[in-house]
Amino acid sequence: MSSGKRQQQQKAGAFDVRNVIAELIGFYGVVLVVVGLLDDDESLAKTGGIDANLWAGIGMIAVAVAFALWSRLRPTVVDPPREDEQPTG
């Protein structure tokens, strides 16, 4: 559609809820992967032998990437630009 042209409409950008989800869940994912790599036997006993932090972390990173891509590929358009104003952004 208008994606080839110069940006004419303001995108929701950083405040797009999908980006916030991607950032928070992505942060959780990274922390969990690190914790998972350092986990000791006690944690493994709790989960019944799977490195839950590591796998949950990887899953969360995947979800975060999916949301980031979704918001990048199909940005939310805030408002059509007003005629008397130059779009910023």
């Binding site: 303001q10 995108k11 929701a12 950008g13 950083a14 405040f15 797009d16 809820v17 916030v20 989800i21 950032e23 928070l24 869940i25 942060f27 959780y28 922390v31 969990l32 914790v35 998972g36 986990d39 006690e42 944690s43 493994l44 709790k46 989960t47 019944g48 032998g49 799977i50 839950a52 932090n53 796998w55 949950a56 972390g57 899953g59 969360m60 979800v63 939310t76 805030v78 408002d79």
Partner: protein, 557 residues
């Protein structure tokens, strides 16, 4: 044991919790300053996408009650708890989207008391505003009690200190603007909760030896294999006869309680009204129904796992009078304690704290609105400047929070909070639903019938409740609440019809937009609807959701 429930949180866990609340607070501050057009866009919801409002719609409800209450139910009754989702919530959400939403969106009613005032005048308005305010404080008490349970489990403080601390935290959450970005936060919260509960369920299943292991253990447990099938749920309803049990569940839980809850709960209906078109508003609860039908797998199943995995809970289920120091309400926290390693533990705590806090904040703020505008402004001090009512609202917020500490103590007396909550819904929602639906579709219903129906319906529910409590009626489980709700509904309808016959109705021209037959078709329909692809049209989507939920009912019967 002296301290039956302690969560052993480490630095990483606290860091994850702090990260969540930092994000929420930042959004809150940004929302108050209106720093960005785009944020403004997400808050005012001039054209929120339906997937956002759909998730906010179920997230507004995926709070304490859902997580703790449904897992407690799962621990106590097993698969029968699925009825709350597959007979209760999902059909009610579809009904809301298909039948009632055109009407709400078209008439632009913003709250239940407002509908009552415009449809029936001050009598029904006053009754409804008072009962709504009372219900909100009672439900806020449940949220506060659960919040305090977590504080207690984390830090080991006694319940009353935890209650006060939790209340203070909620007050500051409201003051710091956490609530001004409610829809935004709800969507975020939904993902954090899923990120916590999905691993919890999978790890729990792994610990009990997979699905087969769970089945074996539940069969061997005191509940027996009856808890593996959802019908006829004689334990849940308390009816011995399976036919009556099914009738009680379909009519009491399904029709009256759930339809009453989902169709008159404006905290949720407002989520749908933040969309750009009638079709998007109708799609909101319908889109929400899809994730909703899978929520029980990460809420009820962990409860069932806890009941066969956690030693204290096994003992409690075998003998509820034994001094184990736990109740069914603790099921999910006990499972979290036993299976989640540090790291995931933090995600779980963040999700639970977020849900309970947001839930209580929503209760308190809707109490605040109804108290200052529907009660104080209408009946106590009229015609003061806006600032005056804002000040009243601020005191109402503090007052309601303090009152919630009291109602939290009532909630703490129930070993399964769903019993308590369903009782409350029977008192308040069942008569409301009856009056709402009759008033919407029957223009002859009079203003007097409006308040008389509500009062007698609530009185009927309370009478049934007292009879169950004193043992006149013998209904264990949640059957008492179902019968009370059914009685409230029937009595409300009968009284409303009888009173309407002997009193004068409102003139028809005052009912435009409020009664179905008096509302022009253009107001109720979306002129753009035929342009939408099938996956954005409400009715086909609702059909798919209905087929899926029937399939779930059949598979897990």
């Amino acid at each position: 044991m002296d301290e039956p429930l302690r969560l052993d949180a480490s630095f990483v866990d606290y860091a994850l919790v702090v990260a969540y609340f930092a994000v929420v607070m930042l959004i809150g501050v940004a929302a108050r300053r209106r720093v960005s057009d785009s944020l403004d866009f997400f808050l005012s919801g001039r054209s929120l996408p339906a997937w956002v409002t759909g998730l906010a719609f179920i997230s507004a409800n995926l709070g304490a009650v859902e997580i703790i209450g449904m897992s407690a139910n799962g621990a106590q009754y097993g698969m029968a708890t699925m009825h709350y989702f597959w007979i209760g919530a999902v059909p009610a959400m579809l009904f809301l989207g298909v039948v009632m939403m055109p009407f709400y969106y078209g008439s632009k009613v913003r709250s239940v008391p407002e509908f009552m005032r415009r449809r029936f005048g001050t009598g029904a308005h006053l009754v409804n505003a008072i009962s709504f305010a009372v219900a909100q404080v009672l439900i806020a008490g449940i949220n506060l009690f659960l919040l305090a349970t977590i504080v207690e489990a984390l830090l080991g403080w006694p319940l009353w200190i935890s209650l006060i601390v939790a209340a203070a935290v909620v007050l500051s959450y409201i003051t710091l603007g956490g609530l001004s970005a409610a829809i935004y936060n709800e969507v975020l919260q939904f993902f954090v909760i899923v990120a916590a509960l999905l691993p919890l369920t999978l790890i729990g299943l792994n610990r009990v030896g997979g699905i087969g292991g769970l089945i074996d253990r539940v069969t061997a447990s005191p509940g027996g294999d009856e808890q593996l099938s959802s019908w006829p749920a004689t334990n849940l309803s308390g009816f011995e006869n399976p036919v009556w049990s099914a009738v009680g569940i379909v009519f009491g839980l399904g029709f009256v309680l759930s339809f009453g809850y989902w169709t008159t709960n404006f905290v949720e209906v407002q989520r749908a009204m933040a969309t750009k078109s009638m079709s998007a508003a109708r799609s909101t609860p319908i889109i929400g129904a899809f994730p909703k039908m899978f929520v029980p797998f990460i809420v009820v199943i962990p409860g069932m796992i806890a009941a066969v995995l956690v030693p204290e809970l096994i003992d409690y289920k075998a003998d509820p009078t034994a001094a184990t120091g736990v109740t069914y309400n603790d099921a999910i926290l006990l499972l979290i304690r036993d299976v989640l390693p540090n790291g995931l533990l933090g995600v779980a705590i963040a999700g639970l704290l977020a849900a309970f806090m947001a839930g209580m904040a929503a209760n308190i703020s809707s109490f605040n609105t109804v108290f200052s505008y529907d009660l104080w402004q209408q009946y106590v001090k009229k015609d003061r400047p806006d600032g005056y009512y804002l000040k009243v609202g601020r005191w109402a917020t503090v007052g309601a929070t303090v009152a919630a500490i009291g109602t939290a103590l009532i909630a703490s007396g129930y070993s399964n909070l769903m019993d308590y909550l369903q009782t409350l819904f029977g008192f308040f929602n069942a008569p409301l639903f009856a009056t709402f639906i009759l008033g919407m579709f029957w223009k002859r219903m009079t203003p007097t019938a409006g308040w008389a129906g509500l009062v007698s319906g609530t009185a009927a529910a309370i009478t049934v409740f007292v009879m169950v409590e004193t043992g006149v009626l013998d209904l264990p489980g949640q059957g008492g609440a179902f019968v009370a709700a059914g009685a409230a509904f029937v009595v409300d309808i009968v009284v409303s019809v009888v009173v309407s016959k002997v009193t004068a109705p409102k003139p028809a021209h005052e009912l435009a937009g409020l009664v179905y037959s008096e509302t022009p078709r253009e107001v109720r329909t979306d002129p753009e609807a035929h342009k939408l692809p099938w996956y954005q049209s409400p009715v086909p989507l609702a059909g798919i959701a209905l087929a899926m939920v029937i399939a779930l009912n059949v598979i897990f019967r």
